[in-house]
């Protein structure tokens, strides 16, 4: 087996929502973080960057927009070692 690479040496960005990032709102002295669901059908996908394991390659950061121009399927699931 060829040597796997570790391309995940820097922290990844998570959601890349730029200026549309919901700003924390200050209400009665309590800072509340606004958590907003942004994904909607018919609307542009929200880009993100995540660290990934790729078989045969190793670890690398992956951006959703790396795959722009192709059909993409994203599958979220609750956890490794569960049946999915």
């Amino acid at each position: 087996m060829s040597k796997l690479k570790d391309g995940c040496v820097k922290p990844v960005a998570g959601p890349l929502i730029g200026e549309e990032t919901p700003q924390p709102s200050q209400e009665a002295g309590i800072i509340q973080e606004v958590k907003k669901v942004l994904a909607k059908v018919g609307k542009e996908a929200i880009d993100f960057e995540a660290s990934a394991f790729v078989a045969g390659e190793g670890f690398k950061p992956v951006k959703l927009s790396d795959y722009k121009g192709k059909w993409i399927v994203i599958c979220f699931y609750p956890g490794d070692f569960t049946y999915v």
Partner: protein, 145 residues
């Protein structure tokens, strides 16, 4: 994951990239692949397995369960223009049906290519509809469930 991996060649033939994502770290993904997935599917899961530690990505996609600290089952189809075409979200107890995912991808690719629309349960080769004034009240003539 393994069920989608088993159909991977069909997804590749349709020019579809698959990304799986959970709150597990990339390290756990590697060991799951080595210990289990590679034994379920020849060669293991061939697509990138992403880590959403903290659930930030799941939050913007509406699938992060804060109480449990995990992303629940959610599946999104994104077209080449980067537009979300479909989403399916399930509570954890029930697994998904990759054959239905494949069917939806084929149907979306067909409508993008042709401008036609596909009725309920459409499979490649089935009749499609062309929307417009002439079709109003006439669907029954060409299509029945």
């Amino acid at each position: 994951m393994a069920a989608v991996a088993a159909l991977y060649k069909e997804f590749q033939a349709l020019n579809v990239e698959i990304l799986s994502i959970s709150t597990d770290s990339r390290f756990v993904h590697k060991i799951w692949q080595a210990e289990e997935l590679s034994k379920m599917v020849d060669g293991g899961v061939p697509y990138p397995m992403l880590s959403d530690g903290g659930g930030k990505i799941g939050s913007v996609y509406g699938v992060y369960d804060e109480a449990a600290g995990v992303d629940i089952r959610g599946r999104f189809i994104i077209d080449p223009d980067f537009v979300i075409r479909a989403m399916e979200v399930l509570t954890p107890e029930v697994g998904r049906n990759p054959a239905e995912l494949l069917r939806q991808v084929k149907a979306f690719q067909h409508v993008v290519k042709t401008g036609e629309v596909t009725p309920s349960g459409w499979e490649p080769g089935d009749i499609t509809l062309t929307p417009g004034p002439d079709l109003v009240g006439k669907v029954w003539e060409v299509w029945k469930p």
